[in-house]
Amino acid sequence: MQQALLKLEHPSTQICCYRLEGDWTIQSDFPKNKVIESALETGTQAQTICFNVDALTSWDSRLLIFLQKIIELARDHSVELDLDGLPSGVLDLLKISQTVEERFDARRNHQHEPFLQRLGVWVLDIIASCRQAMTFVGEFVICLMNWLRGKSKFKAQDFFTHLHDCGPKAFGIVALISVLVGLIFAFVGAVQLRMFGAEIYVANLVGLGMFREMGAMMTAVIMSGRTGASYAAQLGAMQANGEIDALQTMGISPMDYLVLPRTLALILVIPLLCIYADLLGIFGGFLVGIFMLDLMPIEYINQTIGALSLNHFFVGIFKAFVFGFLIAFAGCFRGLHSGTSASAVGSATTSAVVTAIILVVIADAILTVIYNALEI
């Protein structure tokens, strides 16, 4: 492959002739940018630009983009162009590329926006997003009321499918995490309590911690990543595929048909998973108590039973119930408002998990303060 060369010929002071030599292809070595720029600069000084291609051995789109640049420069500097010397294929392709004129408003403006403008747009986006979320919650409440009055319906089979997906199928992961959380709790507590010879109170620590806080919290975090993300991805993919539009035109409300069964399934399942997590967490603590602190099993169990009351149990269950709603809300809301591209579905899923975890933690904080005020 020969090197592409660009030379200048000046038959007269008014005419600038570009002599193109060698292979003007995308695989060949090309003149340095500096050479090209100075040649183009010289061209703009002349009255006419012409071309000599006697020594041009081959060409492809590389030549075309070079010529396009010259054509634009010539137009801007009112220099006459004599294209006659060029191969006819080049001329034809250039002609085709110019058949349809550039649309006046087609090009995107990539102006750098000032900081305040970006801040303003960001705030407006947040406000719009909050409004959307409030509308969504409002619509859900109406939909729930309609369902309670028997006015809206969804496929019972869908409900049981979701129930199965977010319930029994999550047993493994919930068990693993809960036992480990119970173990860690007991471990950390044991180190401190041992200093006072109060190892037996590890049972209180683990029992209360799991029942009031960690059972519900860890279940919620697992379910955000597992079910919340799955809801957002399912609904997002349906949105991208036009299925949500199709539902609406069939007179079926996506809220009734898609959101309600998913939300009901999650609200029902999470408190049950929370009980499961509570018990397994206590079991984790029990293991540490027996094998590390050398406590008697019956002693540990009695201490746990003594430390716990129904109040503590319901405190956790109520939290789980609220978390269930928030996770389903985040998943369905982000999914239904997803864009229609593959990356938009990905973003919807990510933001569903992030939203769910943030909402869960905020709700947990608020509920803890309320419980404290009510002395529960």
Partner: protein, 275 residues
């Protein structure tokens, strides 16, 4: 002699319609009437807003200004009951088919049936009806297939089976023959004509397939991207033969050279700056 007789009754009417996404106006001041039993073609170049207009007609988007009236009822302001009644009287075939990917073809069709509380069919009857509709579009025996197990053309036909599940009074087709081979496209055109002739269905088709436009359309509007409004309306064949507007001419004849015709087409030669 067909069972269908043309009744000069307005079915859908658009008054001073402006379609916009936020601040971006797609089309403005659209006025047209679709008669009962019409096969109404919405045509225009790519990106001119045909599908956007369709989304507005089926109530997925709300017009920025103006109204769309179905038998004098505005879908946007109708009570939920009336709105549902109108929605149940229409069927839509989306460009991609938009079948529910988690359901079999029969379930897709049955869903349309079970959505309407007016339908009083047992599950068995629904299933039989779904099979019948699938047979109508040439998909007999594919009841238990999922959308991802069949070809693109079959998905489109299954989409039609779902759209016609409730024997709708109005059918909307978004690019029905796009992606179909010529024979399937012809069969689809025949099916559209059969539906209109036998059931008197009003059919609105968004397309730029010339063969289909001339074969089935009896009324049409031509949307222009530049002037953002309707630049011609009438019978597609008449427009081809008599319309003076160069854009419409070029579109309908697939010819970039200008031809001058003199005749009486309802077209508005208002924008030739780029022609």
């Amino acid at each position: 002699m067909t069972a269908y007789a043309m009744t000069e009754k307005v079915h859908i009417k658009a008054c001073h319609l402006t379609l916009a996404y936020d601040d971006f106006i797609v089309q403005q001041d659209l006025n047209f009437k679709i008669m009962r039993g019409d096969i109404f073609i919405i045509m225009g170049g790519s990106g001119c807003g045909k599908s956007t207009l369709l989304r507005h007609l089926i109530g997925l988007n709300h017009p920025a200004t103006g109204q769309i009236l179905f038998d004098d009822i505005d879908l946007c302001t109708a009570t939920p009951e009336l709105r549902n009644k109108i929605l149940f009287s229409m069927g839509v075939l989306f460009q991609s088919g938009a079948l529910f990917s988690s359901m079999t073809l029969a379930e897709n069709v049955c869903l349309a049936l079970s959505a309407s509380s007016a339908v009083k069919l047992t599950l068995q009857e629904m299933r039989e009806l779904a099979s019948f509709k699938l047979a109508l579009v040439g998909l007999k025996g594919f009841e238990d297939y999922y959308p991802n197990e069949i070809s693109g053309g079959m998905r489109k036909r299954a989409g039609i089976a779902r759209a016609i599940a409730l024997d709708p009074q109005i059918l909307f087709f978004d690019e029905p023959s796009a992606g179909l081979d010529p024979i399937s496209a012809k069969l689809l055109d025949d099916l559209i004509l059969e539906l209109r002739d036998n059931l008197g269905t009003t059919i609105v088709v968004v397309t730029h397939e010339l063969a289909s436009i001339f074969a089935i359309g009896n009324h049409s509007i031509f949307l222009d991207e530049e002037s953002k409004t309707i630049i011609a309306s009438g019978n597609p064949t008449d427009l081809r033969n008599h319309c003076d507007n160069r854009k419409v001419q070029r579109f309908l004849t697939r010819d970039l050279a200008d031809k001058k015709h003199h005749g009486s087409g309802t077209c508005f030669d208002n924008d030739l700056s780029n022609s």
